[in-house]
Symmetry: none
Subunit: 194 residues, 4 copies
Amino acid sequence: MEQRKDEFVEAAVAVIAEHGVRGATTRRIAEAAGAPLASLHYCFNRKEDLFVEVFTRIGVLLVPADQTGTAGTRSPRTVGTFLCSAMDWLLANENYAIAQVDLYLWLLRKDPDKAPRPYEILADTWIRLLTQEQDEPRELFVEATWLAISAMDGLTLQWFYQRDDERTRHYARIHADFVDRLVEQGRKALVRSP
Amino acid sequence: MEQRKDEFVEAAVAVIAEHGVRGATTRRIAEAAGAPLASLHYCFNRKEDLFVEVFTRIGVLLVPADQTGTAGTRSPRTVGTFLCSAMDWLLANENYAIAQVDLYLWLLRKDPDKAPRPYEILADTWIRLLTQEQDEPRELFVEATWLAISAMDGLTLQWFYQRDDERTRHYARIHADFVDRLVEQGRKALVRSP
Amino acid sequence: MEQRKDEFVEAAVAVIAEHGVRGATTRRIAEAAGAPLASLHYCFNRKEDLFVEVFTRIGVLLVPADQTGTAGTRSPRTVGTFLCSAMDWLLANENYAIAQVDLYLWLLRKDPDKAPRPYEILADTWIRLLTQEQDEPRELFVEATWLAISAMDGLTLQWFYQRDDERTRHYARIHADFVDRLVEQGRKALVRSP
Amino acid sequence: MEQRKDEFVEAAVAVIAEHGVRGATTRRIAEAAGAPLASLHYCFNRKEDLFVEVFTRIGVLLVPADQTGTAGTRSPRTVGTFLCSAMDWLLANENYAIAQVDLYLWLLRKDPDKAPRPYEILADTWIRLLTQEQDEPRELFVEATWLAISAMDGLTLQWFYQRDDERTRHYARIHADFVDRLVEQGRKALVRSP
DNA sequence: TATGAATGAGCCTTCATTCAT
DNA sequence: CATGAATGAAGGCTCATTCAT
């Protein structure tokens, strides 16, 4: 049953990626999942429920792992590294990348209150991790984080028709440098006038 | 007849903005245009033709006006100013902003070769104008332009649920500063080793 | 178009009579009307609209014709004659009789405010005609009329499984005698103490 | 197990009363009974079996108790008292009243031979009781009984939208007077020409 | 025995599109 | 030229019922 749900979610991602939310019909999803149509409605009362589930799960997957406890002398994570990691994940999971944007626009219309949540969760997580790991004030990272997220979205959109992974990673790195430098500036300003 | 077409395009933008391409049915568009359903198919053989027309027109509107001939001692236009202007236009034309993204994703699936064109036209125009106005090598502006366009898209997406014009403009300016500085760096590098 | 509607109404009556409102699917009705399924929804936005239309029409058909102007020395109409006429009509239009009861129960649940209307219209018409034709006070006929209508319904229900027209007419006449005698009693009482 | 059945019957009455036979789905009934869906089919192979059971039980409940042996100087029961008692029971058991009519129409279509039975049992019982208690010929009560039953049905239908218990009882009494007078007339005729 | 899981069949409705006028 | 009328195809969803456990 729980496994059944997973299969439908997986199938939905694939179908949305190929046909868009518009073309993601219950029949197509069921077929992609190799399951009868009625089973879909047995697992998810409404098609919308399935889509919300998909959208939520993608949001969760994008969030970086909490590394507290992972000892060692790693180089410290920054907004830029989060951005690059997220882009890496999206490039490695094309279907999720495409489905995510489509679902975002869909949810925005269906339930405008729910749509932003994954973005906010993502931003909060980034900020929280950075604040914890480097023991610095929250405000230092807020602006850079939202800039990075908008860059991530913009690059994703651009990647859709260029399909050039290397180029996308290249631009991501430039954006990353930029936001990290922004944080650095803020840090210096803090030192001078705490 | 040509006016009829305009009315349908206008109506389509409004309907797509509200219901998404998914919900932009012929009936709704016809109703929004105050025209009989059959008229729509009289002007545009297929619904898709209408959407392509809409998408193309929006692309055109985003392109900045060519100011050659507009004499005077204006401060020179930069990638950053183009970015800010584009964002201003999008914020002033909400429906177009939303419809554009939706149509972009739709067209990407229907006809992947056509979708990128407006983006490339936009980029080419920016680059051409900058090259002409400042009589500098093309390469100087390419990277900054594409970064700016991705930033524009990302900010648009973010604006969709925040609906905070000021905040969006603020972030746009930061992005603008960044890309302009990037160009400046390139310019210096060029001077050193032409 | 208007004729199309009539055909669907006719078909709906037949299908409801045979299968009940429950079994009166759009497909069956369309088939009975010899029309494509989509045509039904072209004429009646929702299936419910068709049913309401059917119910209303039956109500209208039951109402006796206004005979003012039809000169001559007819024997005066009474509640009892109305009852017998109504039963005659129902027996001559079996499908309508059955469909009416079914629709009544259906409408009662869907829109309790609409369901009673046909009954009230029927009662009002009877009372009005009687009052006019015999130039007597309204109150004289109210009770008898409602008794007659309940008798009509009860006999219809009974007829459903007995399917014995003669027997039904026989009982209708008894009920008719009864309500007419009731009116007669009232009339006498009026004379005595106006 | 037997108790389970009772719960389902009770639940079915409530659901039918609210949603009609049409809307009395297995799910709704199971939910109303607080039982798992599959249990319903464990107790009643087909949904129809449950409905037949419900219809039969309601028929039984309407039948007046046999009072032979209940000594005393009660005033003798008549067709009219039976009618009033039946109406009282229906008014006190609204759900049953509604469900009964709905089921009657349903059964009439599904199995026309079964539907009339409860009515005939009711009529036979009334006639038998009257014949026994007053030691008079059967024929004396037949016509009045069937008239009373049709009145009962008609008043029930009318009560559905008026929901006026007092008014309904009032009309029931008038009908009762009428049928009792009819019996009285028959009785006199019998005396004169046995 | 009792029930969670599963499903084939069918329902109502909407859509883009065509066609006759 | 313009449009009311019409429709095949498909969509989301629910239902009664079965079955494995």
